[in-house]
Amino acid sequence: MQKESAIREPLILGDKTYHQITEDVCAPVEGKANKYWYIVFSIAVIVALWGVGCILYTIGRGIGTWGLNTTVDWAWDITNFVWWVGIGHAGTLISAVLLLFRQKWRMAINRSAEAMTIFAVMMAALFPGIHMGRIWMAYWVFPLPNTFGSLWVNFNSPLLWDVFAISTYFSVSLVFWYIGLIPDFATIRDRAIKPVSKMAYSVLSFGWTGNAKAWIRFEEVSLVLAGLATPLVFSVHSIVSMDFATSVIPGWHTTIFPPYFVAGAIFSGFAMVQTLLLIARKALSLESYITVKHGEYMNIVIVITGSIVGVAYLSELFISWYSGVEYEAYAFLNRATGPYWWAYWSMMTCNVITPQLFWFKKVRRSLMASFILSIFVNIGMWFERFVIIVTSLHRDYIPSNWGMFHPTFVDIGIFLGTIGIFFTLFLLYSRFFPVLALNELKSILKSSGDNYKKQHHNE
């Protein structure tokens, strides 16, 4: 059996046994939800319904219900899209990349991170749909054989690349997540008493038997999928960034975008995982599994990716001046000092300055500080997309076109609504799905479990 250095902090705290892990993880699924869950769930559903109402209103009446205009043709819609896609990056990164790098600490967080990814990508995928003027023609973006003669999609368009990138990423993430869930569903199935849940979980677990052969295949599939998903982590946000980078608009037309967007995506994704798990560990009593050390690991990723993003911001500023292009120089000067200066400086503060506090070990290991700073990052990353999209568009080449964007209640409603839908799904997930990869977790109990490590040490 693999042994771990004693000075490495344990990943599972307390005196846990295999059975205890099963009990802990299955408790929320098998037990009854407390009233807090119901309160939070109700709020989430109400907000979600409000968002759905706003979406239906948009589809019924037109994009004119939003605050967009002739100058700023994308604003909150694509901001939200990129924000959600970015958030959707952490899950696959944690499960795939960290799996390949044999990072054991991922086991406590990968399930929820992946769930978050799935839900976030669902929210993201909503926006390119509803932002269309004629959503009922949305299927035209797929290269389908059709009766329109030789009419085909335009493979030059980054929006088309988006369609492929997002749909591929979503399907691979979903499959990866589901494969991981199978053994854990089987555990719940085996423990289930009520016939309905037994039936449901036995369907969900695909007749998992848990024999050695099944486990071998499980691990092989996981590796293959991790191999497939890893390039996707980098490709999706690179392609999303090309929506902007391939255009001619100053502030969008930037070669730095693909790596900068990927770093930003990981940054925001980890922040959202941090936000969610810090709540979940308290609410679901998973303090032994999602430890301070886990938080610290994630904070390290946040501070590094945040610094990359910060370097990208500064490079952009420098290059805009260095390029000698009037429009480019003005676009960035306008971001910092123009009418949207507050958005730019919110972005700078939340993304570049505050995460630097994580260099301090005390801050990094403080759960409260982690939580607050993760919220800052979530806000900052939303502003980053808003800044890129709106402040580039609102003052581009010809001054007579310059204008402002003012959101309407529908813009706000849809954004909040997606947060509502996201939390509704996540809360349902936390009640019906094993929130930790319990069977995987058991594999590190003896090497990284607190009591076992102590035993080893004492030996």
Partner: protein
């Protein structure tokens, strides 16, 4: 025998197999399970009865029938007998004439399947020369206005022609017998036949009892001062004809002659001809209060207070006199000259004198004394007979406030038995102080002959609906010896009757106006004779061409004194011809001092407000402020900042409000910043606050009526007054299509001075754009292109050339485009949200004090914040921008569904049906000319009262060649592809190559100064090709590398150079 021959079916039969024999008699050899099937008990137990079967069948048939029905039902009735001239899909053009008492144009009306849909200029006319203005080409829409009078009314209730005719006729008979007076108050009438009818009425009514007809003409914006001055100077009470096309130096003292002059379309045509630096470049001085459209085009502009109009005229006179060796009159001075007006006037005088005989001075003043001084100046300059033709009068303004005042006096004295108001709204457009409304109450019979409801029709007993001009016949003698005809292009939509027909009916004449016209011109020997033609074919030719020439022009004195001849009671007129000497005139002129003054001006779109209810005109941005749908006061932004008023515009930049106190009256208005307006003044537009009828009754069309507060001085209405203003604690949303006003030091509207243009090469003022390659070497753009070229040298390649020098910013192209391309009207709120749908916009830029010397390039230290602020008295430039039809269009590459593509003929074409509305193309357009259908503008409740296409009748104005775009798709300028296709077909039918100029886009056809040239760039002889190769030609944002098919010609401002000042 053959009969006995037997065939057997098989060996079984031959051998008489028992099993075969048994089944031989049966039809089917095997047992069919019929019994078994019918014997099933289940069938008996089902409860599908025959009734049910019938029910289901009935439902099925009904459902199938209903599914075949289409909703909504669109009725389309074919012709039973197709008229010869109507060919479905082919447009017919009819010549006609527009005159609403204010604007005049000879026009062509495009009709499709009997529906008039578009108005263009008639090139046969020597007066307007094919020019139109925004107001003229928008006048097609009111034809389909459901709010206009649909029949005669008596005391506000619908009536019939027969009943009101008999009542009016009996009243007239009574007046005739009792010796009363019938007064006719009309706007200027330029129809000789109409005047003849009025004279005929006078002859009919006057008899032994002393009954009379008085005809009083009045113009809401009067030229009576000018007419009086000409009477004093030349003894001719007329408006002369101005020839701007002959003027090398133009000095305008507060006259907005390009859009609101006496004959602005003709003026703009002439002015445009002298704005070509290659062939003839005039220098235009403008001294005015607000920044008018004309003033925006000036080479040198001085801002003065309205009260200093006369002072400036006198100063100019004295300066010219100095050069001419004459004597100065008085010692005029301008107080607080903050923009070097005095030296500009001196320079203007020098230039005028230098181009003696080719100079013109015009004034917008209605003070005869000021006009008399201007006349004297023009006399010294030898303008008369050269640039001003007093012998060829313009008949478009004949009104006199003095005779109106006289009429009001008569009305008050009870001397007017019946008042007929023809095509005029005196209750609205006469100053309150003249007391017309009160006087009208004393007249028993008031008959309004009007097209639509207004303040005046509200006080009349009888309303005779006159209909739209395109439903009526008329003739017009606008100027000189040209006669133009108005012919109806559609059957009367409502139960209306033109006023001339009403007059004829009341006089008991059998003739209708058409017969009358026909007869008048038949019997008239004054119309040009062509000996080879009989009259019918001559008449047909006149109607066809729209234009005829009067051989012996009607003596001008006859027409102008028409009213005087009839007005036997007019004491005022009798007193008028007093000789006023120039010194006497000058002695009345003095500056208004330091107090706040209000300048009442006219807007390019609304004018005097005749069509203020026309949504196309309301949505046309004002050329200078770019504000739509609103009435506002203007002030210099420096004054506004001092008063604590917001100078910014935008969706959430609400304007401050002020109360302007003028004499007894006051108006509460929002304030809009107008750089270039003289400090210490407020500008208020006339033409707003007109009454319209809604379901709730009469309401005002946007804003306040500024006519009501106009002061009257010496009998002449004055268009300025001393005023005060109070800041109100209110905010108001103003919608503007342009909220940033300066060019930010970029090469957008490329501009140079005439001196620079003359003395230096293209490299100085329109240098070729180069871009640094990866090694820092400056390269031509072609060298750095990533993309392969389209085959642009093959076939046609349509393009535009836009001359920024001749564009006057009037907006005629914008409304023409709306009309041609079914562009929706979206209303104030949508414009405020920056969602205007116009396919062509006119950008207006102010210069800023912080503008860098050289436009473009970042090597200079720029204060961007300061560059956003226009100068206190800026220079102005106009730039029409539409889709640039890029050969490397950024919109085309980004559309995921290939809905926007490049055509073989150079268009960037938009396939509405394929568009899914991602708006990526609009984001990626550097020119931001793409327009998204944010709503269903036809069906959405927000646009029910705005967009003509929402209304069943107004939908008739839509061009059937252009689809009405649905919600959620992108649209933009198509370069009028439907016109090009039609032009190509015509050429094909004729078997000839397309002639340059035979195809015109709506914008190029409607431009009164020919600033927009359309053509085939691959046609070696085309104007657009030679323009594209011109030294002044450049592409907007050439450095982006999108290779547009639209060229702009550098603006050349004939500024005062050092060399001029010493000369």
């Amino acid at each position: 025998m053959s009969n006995n021959k037997l065939y057997w079916r098989g060996t079984e039969e031959l051998e008489k197999d028992p099993s075969f024999v048994k089944s031989a008699a049966k039809e089917f050899s095997e047992e069919l399970p019929i019994e078994q099937f019918l014997g099933k008990k289940e069938l008996d137990s089902t409860n599908t009865s025959r009734r049910d079967f019938l029910k289901f069948m009935g439902f099925g048939i009904t459902a199938a029938t209903l599914a075949a029905c289409e909703t909504p039902v669109i009725k389309s009735l074919p012709y039973v007998v197709k008229p010869n001239e109507v060919m479905p899909g082919i447009a017919n053009y009819y010549a006609s004439t527009y005159f609403d008492g204010y604007d005049y144009a000879s026009i062509l009306v495009k009709t499709r399947e009997g529906r008039p849909i578009h108005i263009e200029g008639n090139k046969n006319s020597k007066v307007t020369q094919g020019g139109v203005s925004a107001r003229v080409n928008s006048s097609i829409l009111p034809l389909y206005n459901t709010k206009r009078f649909q029949g005669p009314l008596k005391d506000g209730a619908a009536s019939t022609w027969a009943s009101i005719d008999s009542e009016i006729r009996s009243q007239f008979e009574a007046i005739k017998l009792s010796g009363g007076n019938i007064s006719i108050l009309s706007s200027t009438i330029i129809s000789p036949s109409s005047i003849a009818i009025i004279e005929e009425m006078n002859a009919w009514i006057s008899g032994e009892e002393g009954a009379s007809v008085t005809h009083v003409t009045f113009d809401p914006v009067s030229s009576a001062g000018l007419i009086e001055a000409n009477k004093r100077t030349f003894g001719k009470a007329v408006v002369p004809t101005y020839h701007f096309e002959k003027a090398n130096t133009v000095v305008s003292l507060g006259s907005d002659f390009l859009v609101n002059g006496v004959n602005s379309i003709a003026f703009a045509k002439g002015y445009g001809k002298m704005r070509n630096p290659e062939s003839g470049m005039s220098r235009h001085y403008q001294f005015e209060t607000i920044l008018s459209t004309t003033g925006s085009n000036a080479d040198v502009r001085g801002a003065i207070k309205p009260s200093e109009q006369g002072v400036a005229a006198l100063m100019l006179h004295n300066e010219v006199a100095k050069l001419a060796g004459g004597s100065a009159i008085g010692s005029p001075s301008i107080s607080n000259d903050d923009n070097a007006v005095v030296s500009k006037i001196a320079q203007a005088a020098k230039d005028l004198w230098k181009s003696k005989g080719k100079s013109i001075v015009v004034s917008g003043s209605n003070d005869p004394n000021v006009q008399q001084i201007v006349n004297a100046t023009n006399q010294m300059l030898g303008s008369y007979g050269n640039t001003i033709d007093i012998a060829v009068p313009t008949y478009l303004r004949k009104g006199s406030e003095l005779s109106v005042a006289n009429l009001i006096e008569n009305m008050n004295n009870g001397q007017v038995s019946a008042l007929l108001i023809v095509d005029a709204d005196p209750v609205y457009s006469l100053p309150m102080s003249m007391g017309f409304e009160a006087a009208a109450a004393k007249v028993k019979t008031k008959i309004a002959l009007a097209e639509k409801a207004n303040s005046t029709t509200a006080v009349c007993n009888y309303i005779c609906a006159t209909g739209h001009f395109l439903e009526n016949w008329n003739d017009a003698n606008a100027a000189g010896n040209e006669i133009t005809f108005t012919q109806p292009v559609i059957n009367k939509i409502y139960n209306t009757r033109q006023w001339q027909d009403s007059f004829l009916t009341w006089m008991g004449s059998d003739a209708n106006y058409y017969n009358y016209l026909n007869k008048a011109w038949n019997s008239s020997s004054s119309i040009e004779e062509d000996p080879n033609m009989v009259f019918t074919s001559r008449w047909n030719k006149y109607i066809h061409d729209g234009v005829g020439v009067i051989v012996t022009p009607m003596p001008s004195s006859d027409l102008a004194s028409e009213q005087v001849a009839i007005e036997s009671d007019s004491e005022a007129m009798a007193e008028m011809p007093a000789v006023v000497s120039l010194t006497e005139a000058a002695s009345t002129i003095k500056s208004g001092g330091d107090g706040m003054e209000v300048d009442f001006y006219l807007k390019a779109a609304i004018g005097i407000g005749n069509d203020a209810d026309n949504p196309w005109l309301q949505e046309l941005p004002d050329p200078v402020t770019k504000v739509v749908w609103d009435h506002y006061a203007t002030m210099n932004p420096v004054d506004m900042t001092e008063a604590g008023l917001n100078t910014m515009m935008g969706e959430q930049q609400r304007s401050g409000m002020i109360r302007v106190n003028v004499g007894e009256g006051a108006m509460e208005l929002p304030v809009v910043a107008m750089p270039g307006q003289k400090r210490g003044t407020v500008g208020v537009a006339l033409g707003y606050g007109k009454a319209k009828v809604t379901e709730e009754g009469v309401e005002r069309i946007i804003g306040k009526n500024a006519f009501a507060v106009l002061p009257v001085s010496g009998g002449y209405i004055q268009y300025s007054a001393p005023c005060t203003f109070d800041k109100l604690e209110m905010r108001y949303n103003i919608a503007s299509t342009q909220t940033s006003h300066t060019m930010m030091g970029r090469k957008i509207l490329n501009e140079t001075t005439f001196g620079e243009f003359e003395s230096n090469g293209k490299d100085h003022w329109n240098p070729e754009i180069t871009v640094a390659d990866a090694y820092g070497k400056q390269q031509a753009l072609d060298k750095l292109d990533l993309w392969n070229d389209h085959a642009i040298d093959l076939g046609h390649r349509w393009g535009l050339s836009i001359d920024l020098n001749t564009c006057i910013g009037c907006g005629s192209c914008v409304t023409a485009c709306h009309s041609e391309n079914n562009v929706p009207v979206v209303g104030k709120d949508e414009v405020n949200r920056m969602r205007t749908m116009s396919w062509i916009r006119i950008d207006r830029y102010y210069s800023s004090d912080a503008d860098p010397e050289i436009h473009g390039g970042i090597d200079q230290n720029k204060d961007y914040a300061a560059m956003e602020v226009p100068s206190e008295y800026p220079e102005v430039g106009f730039m029409p921008v539409m889709c640039q039809h890029c050969n490397h269009a950024p919109c085309e590459t980004v559309c995921p569904v290939a809905a926007t593509t490049h055509s073989d003929e150079g268009y960037n074409q938009m396939t509405y049906n394929r568009c899914i509305g991602t708006r990526y193309c609009a984001n990626n357009c550097p020119y931001k000319v793409r327009r998204f259908n944010w709503f269903n503008y036809v069906g959405d409740r927000k646009f029910t009262n705005l967009n003509p296409a929402s209304d069943d009748l107004a939908r008739m104005v839509l061009n059937p060649d252009v689809v009405v775009r649905s919600r959620g798709v992108m649209e933009k300028c198509s370069l009028c592809v439907q016109r090009v296709q039609a032009g190509k077909l015509n050429a094909k039918k004729a078997g000839e190559p397309i002639k340059d100029g035979s195809i015109q886009t709506a914008c190029s056809a409607s431009c009164p100064t020919n600033a927009i040239i359309f053509g085939d760039i691959n046609d070696k002889k085309s104007k657009v090709r030679s323009d594209a190769k011109n030294d002044r030609a450049y592409h907007l944002l050439e450095e982006v590398g999108v290779k547009p098919n639209v060229w702009y010609q550098t603006k050349v401002r004939n500024s005062i150079e050092t060399a001029d000042q010493t000369a």
